[in-house]
Amino acid sequence: MIHATTFLLSLTGFALLLLAMARHQQDWLRRKLPPSLGNGLRLSGFAALALGFLFAGVGLGWAYGAIVWFGWLTVAAALVVTVNTNRERIVRKVQP
């Protein structure tokens, strides 16, 4: 359960960080968001990652939890990269 929570928080965090970047906003939303919104997304992205660390640390002990957190960070980031790489394919599926 703690593993799933940590993973989902990391995934959310990286997705928010992706959307905070102007280049990816253009790709995914076809427009650039105002800078204040971008900053908000970035901040909440980092907050989600930090929350994941908190969950892992409290739930699994700080030593073990920290290692687990790094592991899930890598997996979550890899997933976001995979989705981002296949954007065109996904967009075509969603809006044929």
Binding site: F70, G71, V81
Partner: protein, 519 residues
């Protein structure tokens, strides 16, 4: 020195510190990654072992066996598998020294306690040992090579971070089908996403080699390394035998006693000195199942079971080193964290491989004569194919040999290992004779076929194929077969990608020049 030239010099350093030991680094990363599942692999390679966790029944059976077969031995040694299994419960006894020495051994199932015959194999242990002591070469040479490679890896990571200008801007970006750019993206993404792991595993890897890399603290203060170990890890209490015999403590009582004294930590090895004597001493060596756990023994009085000496608390330096080595080996991790370790390791292996391939991709377009490249280029290209694809083909052959070699064969375990290297060497020679692109496709196809064969041969030669294991809920076996199939799929996909790669389009300017010339 300006910022630009600093970055350039780091790029140069990154290229060469990465390339020269690159093939050794690939082997270390590949086999090290596999070794995270050492116990599970050992379990798969010993299909005779039905049980996994050590039961009290088995410990009592081991005690009965020792009392029956070696009542007056000088020493009993009992090796217990951890809860992850993979190893049988082994009991050994020894008496006398020199020519008069007598010894014996029995292998028991850790759960049922029955004596069983287990095939002669080194199991996952060999894959783990190979990642730092290599094979067929003397230990000191392997040590030097691995130390140099590990140092170069650390230099390559740090200089790579400086060289990679856009860690954050390009964090999520991977562009496919763009030749050199794509290879750089793969190299960057596998490096950056698992960067904490890469830094940790390389640094802690250096710490495991500490005494070889930095022997001076010891050599200044001690006449020899042995005397250092004597001082750092003094021998525990010893007692001469008194000749008065009593019934020895049963091993299950001994283990229970150790668990009570050490907060549930089960021993990995039990040594009983003068078993049955009133002056008997029992040593209990822990198995490393906790991060920062002790590696020293607990000593029990063999007649009463009272603690004679608890493992001493280690000093700060030893404790730090212990934690770092634990962090490197990941033996403390549960199943989920083990998979995370494994996935990051796969990322590291891909990082090294893509770096090596990138070296050739980057230079291919600049070759004066692409049809006849210079020697250095051909050397790197051939070593890439022969070592990256070759070592990947060796591993499934090791597993296949485990199932196919005759059980009564002499030096069977050695031949399993030889099979790995014969297949690797054979594939290496084969790829040398083929044009580079064909060589990649064929070698990867061979890899895919070999990995796909493993679950099939397993199902044909044992009663523990994928379907029976699924029904029995034997997740270690199911996982092993599925990883083999997934690897086969990955090799097929890569071979297909290489085969369908169009010849790189000319860069735009060159293409325009060509078109204009044609008009």
């Amino acid at each position: 020195m300006g910022n630009k030239s600093f970055r350039q010099s780091m790029a140069w350093l990154h290229t060469w510190a990465g390339l020269l030991p690159g093939w050794l680094l690939f082997i270390i990363f590949l086999f090290g990654t596999v070794a995270f599942f050492q116990q599970e692999i050992s379990g798969w390679m010993r299909p005779e072992l039905a049980g996994r966790a050590v039961s009290d029944t088995a410990l009592r059976a081991a005690s009965r066996l020792l009392v029956a077969k070696a009542p007056g031995a000088d020493r009993w040694i009992v090796t217990l598998p951890s809860d992850r299994g993979g190893e049988p419960l082994t009991v050994t006894w020894k008496s006398g020294t020199g020519e008069a020495a007598i010894s014996g051994k029995a292998i028991l199932d850790p759960t049922s306690g029955r004596e069983i015959a287990v095939r002669d194999t080194r199991g996952g242990w060999f894959l783990y040992r190979f990642h730092f002591e290599l094979h067929y070469i003397p230990y000191w040479l392997a040590e030097i090579l691995v130390c140099a490679a590990a140092l170069a890896m650390f230099v390559a990571i740090l200089s790579g971070i400086v060289t990679h200008k856009k860690i954050f801007v390009d964090f999520f970006i991977m562009r496919f089908g763009k030749g050199q750019r794509s290879w750089l993206d793969v190299h960057n993404v596998t490096a950056v996403l698992a960067l904490p792991f890469h830094l940790m595993i390389t640094y802690t890897g250096l710490v495991t080699l500490l005494f070889t890399l930095m022997p001076w603290a010891i050599s200044v203060q001690f006449p020899s390394r042995e005397s250092y170990f004597q001082a750092a890890y003094p021998p525990g209490p010893e007692r001469a035998s008194q000749g008065e015999m009593i019934a020895p403590l049963s091993l299950d009582q001994v283990v229970d006693r150790a668990k009570v004294l050490q907060g549930g930590v089960a021993p990995g090895r039990i040594i009983v000195e003068h078993p049955g004597d009133v002056a008997s001493v029992i040593q209990l060596w822990p198995s490393p199942t906790r991060i920062g756990g002790t590696s020293d023994a607990l000593y029990l009085d063999g007649s009463t079971g009272r603690a004679m000496q608890m493992p001493p608390a280690s000093g700060m330096a030893t404790a730090s080193r212990g934690v770092m080595i634990d962090l490197h080996a990941g033996r403390f991790s549960g199943p989920v964290l083990r998979w995370l370790y494994f996935l990051s390791g796969v990322g590291g292996t891909m990082m090294v491989a893509s770096g090596l391939i990138l070296w050739t991709v980057k230079r291919r377009t600049k070759l004066p004569d692409p049809v006849r490249p210079h020697f250095g280029f051909r050397l790197v290209e051939r070593l890439n194919i022969g070592i990256i694809a070759g070592s990947c083909a060796g591993i499934p052959v090791y597993f296949l040999a485990n199932r196919l070699l005759s059980l009564s064969m002499a030096h069977r375990a050695d031949w399993e290992i030889n099979s790995l290297f014969i297949a690797w060497g054979g594939l290496f020679v084969w790829t040398l004779a083929r044009p580079a692109k064909r060589a990649w496709i064929e070698a990867l196809t061979v890899c895919a076929a070999l990995y796909a064969l493993v679950p099939i041969i397993n199902a044909l030669t044992t009663a523990r194929g994928l379907v029976p294991s699924l029904i029995a809920g034997d997740w270690a076996y199911v996982g092993f077969d599925l990883v083999m199939l997934a690897t086969a799929a990955a090799c097929t996909f890569t071979a297909w990608k290489v085969a369908n790669r169009k010849a790189m389009a000319l860069p735009r300017r060159k293409a325009r020049v060509a078109v204009e010339a044609a008009l």
